[in-house]
Every structure is written in structure tokens, then in C-alpha cells.
Symmetry: C2
């Protein structure tokens, strides 16, 4: 995967940034270190001033790349889902068996992520951690409808859509394909979160992972 991905630029909605961070060294530093800093102190405590200090740059310089920290988080999330989509498409093409294909897809969206070193300035493992902790905040605010109209969540919805189609291939009679997919994708993040913080209301732990739970669920649910 390393060689392949290193030639592919993950595309996100240009409305998310003022200046494309992929086009400069400072921009990449912003991406790389915002991931680390959000992981470290949490999104609420994260400020452009602190990020500026971390990268020995200036608050005002960061504002030249992102309007505010919310858009930066949506940018990081979009990047994450685009990366997931790429891996999803890549690893499910050429799987003949419909159920196996679906199972592979579910594995991709629910498994624990390790840094794959394919992109120098993005640590995918840490990005996955902040997605688990913070992704919900990109949606849960008073601007969702406006931002949805502007296409901020297109990639996320597209990942949902791709798996929905796979479910329909496995069992066209199943009546809740969309809800099943969205509940798996979001629910998997939630199970990872519970595993880390509220252990008593999940079966997931170091041995059992959300992937097992959802694979078992889907196989039993779509059986004809």
C-alpha cells in the first residue's frame, strides 16, 4: 500500500480551507501537529495559538490556512473518510463473493487503525483516535444543515452509500440498508470510545473488537 498511496493526493472540499495546506511546508506542519495536539489536549482545549506555539509559528499564519478550528476538524475528518474510502474501494474490488466483499468493507470501517506511513505528515493511527473522540462534533452543532448543503460531509456519506450497495447485493430484501450502514459506521466509533472510557457497557476490549461484533451482526441479520 505504501508506494501506491504516496502518489495519491487525498482530496477534500476546498471550501474547508482558505489556503490548501497540502501546498506548503507550513500547511503540512499544521495538519500533522493539529492531529497530535487535538489528541493530546482534546478539541475543546485546542486553540490556534497553542498550535502556533507547538510548531513555532504564529497564530495569524494558521488563520491563513483555516478560518477556524471547527473547519480544521471537518477538514481532518474529510481527509480520514477519504482515506477510508480509498482503502475500502481498493481492498474490495475483485472480491467475487458478495458476502465476503461486504465483510471486508465492514472490517475496513470498524477495525483499529495503525499508522501506515503512507503519508508523511498524517499519522493515521492518531487521526483514527481523534476521529473516535471528536468526529461527532463535526455534525453536532447548529451549522450542520448549512454545511451539509455545502457538501462538507459528502465523502462520509459516500462511504455509507458504498456499503449500502454491498448490503443490497447480499440481501435485496433487507429493508433498512441505509440505517444499518450508518449505525455500523458511527456505532463502531462509539464502541471504540466505550472500550476506552465506559468499559462496562461494551463487550469490546483488547481481545474482542468492534469488528467481530459487527461482522457477527451483519452475517446473522442478512441471512436469508
Amino acid at each position: 500500500m505504501i508506494d501506491l498511496l504516496s502518489n495519491i493526493k487525498i482530496q477534500v472540499n476546498p471550501k474547508l480551507y482558505v489556503k490548501d495546506p497540502e501546498t506548503s511546508a507550513l500547511g503540512k506542519k499544521i495538519i500533522q501537529n493539529s492531529i497530535l495536539l487535538i489528541d493530546e489536549i482534546g478539541f475543546e482545549e485546542f486553540t490556534f495559538k497553542k498550535l502556533g506555539e507547538k510548531i513555532s509559528s504564529n497564530e495569524s499564519s494558521i488563520y491563513r490556512y483555516f478560518e477556524n478550528k471547527h473547519k480544521l476538524l471537518v477538514y481532518l475528518s474529510s481527509w480520514y473518510w477519504a482515506w477510508i474510502e480509498y482503502r475500502l474501494v481498493f481492498s474490495t474490488t475483485n472480491i467475487e463473493n458478495k458476502l465476503e466483499k461486504l465483510k471486508k468493507a465492514i472490517t475496513i470501517v470498524t477495525e483499529n487503525i495503525e499508522d501506515d506511513y503512507s503519508t508523511a505528515h498524517v499519522n493515521e493511527a492518531v487521526l483514527n483516535k481523534i476521529i473516535i473522540e471528536e468526529f461527532t462534533k463535526t455534525l453536532h452543532n447548529k451549522h450542520v444543515d448549512k454545511e451539509n448543503k455545502e457538501g462538507f460531509f459528502l465523502i462520509y456519506k459516500q462511504v455509507n452509500y458504498r456499503i449500502e450497495k454491498m448490503i443490497e447485493e447480499v440481501n435485496p430484501e433487507y429493508p433498512f440498508a441505509k440505517s444499518l450502514v450508518s449505525s455500523i459506521i458511527e456505532g463502531s466509533l462509539h464502541q471504540h470510545f466505550l472500550k476506552n472510557h465506559l468499559k462496562t457497557i461494551t463487550n469490546c476490549n483488547s481481545e474482542i473488537n468492534p469488528t467481530s461484533f459487527y461482522l457477527h451482526l451483519v452475517e446473522n441479520l442478512l441471512k436469508k
Copy 2:
């Protein structure tokens, strides 16, 4: 239900408030109007100053009831889950059939809420709306572990636990009872959210509700 509930005081963790809002007229006004104001402008825009203006009272007076707006939100959430738990216990006792009992429980935690007028200062329908939009924020922050230790989420976890036991009664062999429950409870809020904001990735709408989706799921999943 009206007469019954009006005699029952919903108990929440006293660490959540400085002074119990149930003990004064101003306290009740704070609860009632914080629900309305959070629904109106969203939790991020919500401040004690604005709430003070709304109830013709002073910012500093509100600080005498709640340390900060986060604790107020956790208070409202606890109240909500305690109310759900009450309804859960009340409406499932004396149901002999294990599956019917479980289905009733799932209905309680997933259905759309209408104001039941049992508590004068809490509009349950609006509270349900803010739980759908904002509950995730009570968990997703850097204080979860500390607050979990302090027991802030006990009632929520207890609701999970009660339904987990019901699943075990229906099918003791099912290996992911905890994860199934937590994914239903949280997932149902998410489906309601999607129905309101990202309609393309859910089957739920004015006709199909999250309850149907989850009842169908559980029945098929726990079949022996």
C-alpha cells in the same frame, strides 16, 4: 402516568449541582428555560448570561446552581435517563414473555418522545430533542474518565445494564449483549439525528422510525 410521576422526584447525582435546582422557583426556571434555550440556539452558543436574560435573572445567580454549562448539560442528561429508566421499569414489569419485555424496553429507549406534562418545569419532548443533538457532548471531552469515576453517568449505564439483562433472558448464548444494547441506545439517538439532518444515510423518516429498525434487528439477531 401523569398522577404517578408527579409524585416522584427524579434523582440525579448531587455532585452535578452546587445547589439543587428542584428546591426553588429560580432553580426550576433555570432547568425549564435552559432546555428551551439550548434547543433554540444550541449548546455551543448557550451561555449563562443569555439564560439570565431569558429568565430576567442574573448570570451570577445561575452560577450558584451550576458550576458551568457542561455540568448543567450532564444534569439534564441524567434527568432524562432517570426519566427513561423510570418509564422502562414501569412499563416492563409484569410482562411475562421475555421477548415481548425486551421489545417493550427497546421501544421505550428508541421511540420519539412527546411531552407528557407529568413534570411542570420539564418539557420532555424538547429535552429529548436536545438529548438527540447534544448528549454526545457529555461524554466526548477530556474529563470523561474523571466524571465517570465520580458517577456522572451511572443512570445511563444502568439503563444499558437493565436491557442487557433482558437480552440475556431472551438468548443467553448471544455473545455481545452489552455492545448490542449500547449500540441501540446511542444508535437510536444517531438515527433520529440523521433523520433530521443527513436524510440520505438513514431509512428513518416520518413513516419509518428508529424503533422499527431496532425491533427488526433484535428479533432477527436473537432468534435461536
